[in-house]
Symmetry: C2
Subunit: 372 residues, 2 copies
């Protein structure tokens, strides 16, 4: 560890007059004379133009520049450009009571679905609605206290809204209290015990599609490798799948197989239990593609064939699922719709806190490829 204490290390000596004239910034005295080399603030820009700050402010603003004479407006904008003026958004935020930021909470930055939806949200925010909003992104890894910290930070930074792609049941309390202070929108995951505007996928329908597909293919014994139940996502996939199994006379063996993390590694590890089941299932529904890939890899290593010995279907339609030697059957997640809806909800809620928000649930669709 290099111990560095530079607070007292800056050997700048100023005599009285200069010290007073200096502008304090970040704890150091920075001489800021009128022949400044650094960029001007609005006041300085106004002085350079012999105009009032308010006129400059209006001229530069997006929605109020019409209040300024055309000539003045152009003169201001040109000077701003030339002198390298750059709005201080922290100051603007303080004054406006609006930061033009939204906090986005993600549970896992390595998960392609979250990233895809995240991108969609950002694109949509830029396009429709708010033009130059900055997202503050935080990752929780499904840790409650990390979530609490993140919410606190976002709230302290006065974000205009929060989107959580990482909700889970244990967060109901903290989300509820946060929602009293700022609009909160849920995406991908909904939770029990709190009703917030949400953008969701119909996971139950997704699970049901897979079961129906297995039934149509003539499978009799099937199983599902379920993700953690804290998230509604996986609960619903399981529900939909099991429901149709019962309807169609499919038997689930083993009846319950839940991995702690929905990862490829755990997918691999879970294959042993399936092999040991009796009767042995011939079709496996993995709750996401990562798990599915783990299963495929492990059964390949064991000398089994896919789909002949085991049919496998994943969930999410990730990039890799398409390029595997045995392209993976999977459920396509409505990322575009979910992201777009989430973004629109926050746009509207920011513009109008009383916006009659509504939750939307979008349908996934089954993609049958080589693995089933």
């Amino acid at each position: 560890m290099t111990a560095i204490d530079c607070k007292t290390n800056v050997p700048i000596t100023l005599d009285g007059a200069e010290a007073l004239a200096g502008v304090q910034r970040g704890g150091d005295f920075v001489k800021k004379d009128s022949s400044r080399s650094s960029r001007p603030n609005m006041k300085e820009l106004a002085e350079a133009l012999n105009l009032d700050r308010s006129t400059v402010s209006r001229a530069l603003s997006e929605d109020k520049s019409h209040l300024v004479g055309l000539e003045t407006r152009l003169r201001v904008r040109e000077a701003a450009m030339k002198l390298g003026y750059r709005t201080d958004l922290t100051a603007a935020a303080l004054r406006k009571g609006r930061t033009d930021t939204v906090g986005i909470i993600v549970s896992d930055l390595e998960n392609e679905i979250f990233i895809t939806v995240l991108r969609q949200i950002m694109a949509e925010l830029h396009g429709t609605g708010l033009p130059n909003i900055t997202p503050l992104i935080g990752e929780t890894r499904d840790d409650l206290s990390a979530t609490r910290d993140l919410l606190h930070r976002f709230l302290s930074r006065r974000v205009d809204a929060i989107i959580s792609l990482a909700a889970s049941d244990d967060q109901a309390d903290i989300l509820r209290s946060a929602a009293e202070q700022v609009p909160i929108v849920l995406a991908i995951r909904s939770i029990r015990g709190i009703d917030l505007p949400s953008a969701l996928c119909d996971d139950q329908a997704g699970g049901a599609m897979v079961a129906a597909h297995f039934a149509a293919r003539g499978h009799k014994y099937v199983c599902q490798v379920q993700g953690p139940v804290a998230a509604a996502t996986f609960r619903n996939r399981a529900l939909g799948f099991s429901h149709v199994c019962k309807q169609s006379g499919l038997v689930e063996v083993p009846s319950s197989l839940i991995v702690r993390n929905a990862t490829t590694q755990e997918g691999r590890d879970s294959f042993a239990s399936i092999l040991n089941a009796s009767p042995r299932p011939t079709a496996i529904f993995a709750h996401n593609d990562s798990i599915a890939i783990g299963l495929v890899e492990d059964l390949r290593s064991g000398g089994f064939r896919c789909p002949e010995d085991f049919a496998i279907v994943g969930f999410n339609n990730t990039q890799i699922s398409r390029v595997l030697a045995i392209p993976l059957s999977t459920v396509d997640y409505p990322t575009v719709e979910v992201g777009r809806h989430a973004a629109r909800l926050v746009s509207n809620l920011i513009e109008n806190r009383d916006y009659a928000w509504k939750t939307s649930v979008f349908s996934p669709s089954l993609l049958v490829r080589a693995s089933s």
Copy 2:
């Protein structure tokens, strides 16, 4: 577009005295009486305690609370807790000339290496150095104008520093000018034409290791599937590899094979060219794991064996490389070191702009697994 103008829509009528007492917020007049239900600001907290705002500020601060009597300090903190006081960091930032934010520029949020380094940076910032810094994350997808916009946004938000994991040669100008206003640190990718403190991997050494490995295994004809050359990363891997090939008498065929994007799909697509080469190479160095996986998948589909027909080595040691049916040989990227160094650089530069920054280059290491 729903046009919403709530600025004039709130039919609250206040007589003179009350109007003055009212606090303006976001353009709306919000009656804020002393029996408030919303959270207090510092002034209100101070009034409730019969103290001055400055005393409250000190009592609540991390590094100046020792200036306040123990009893007062506790009283203040307790009251803050009870009344739900929450610092307004936008206001604090304006006053302090420091936002406690750093902008982080990433080219591709789906790339595991970037995410891993990003996490490391965040962890390190939280641990060492700055306690509660908020990262502003932006993705460029290697688009120059996206990068420009991002820099502009970060600068307007007055970030205390910027870390770019997405540098490329064409950004030299804009990075240089941005670096005059705020400390900038490069990670993963360095560029020509500008000298900034950086945290890098010795990609050249990585490429060299792979060539040496191929030579040791007795291969004669080899090839590399190179990533895009705009990033120094891939250029250096190619350089190191080719250099050792020449030294060791290995022949590269085809002599040059460059994909436009370093993705699994392009890896698959490139396998055809390798098959058609003559003499046909027996060992392939893929510039990252994504490409390598594409190659493996395609050769498997074609009935070839790995490593018997083709030895393959990737780069990055991604999660998936470990769990494939044929575990992938790969070069382990020093993500921890790179992330940590980048974080420390910015910490130091934020504390002291004149910090004698230095670039560090960390060594990768070859992991030989089943594919080579």
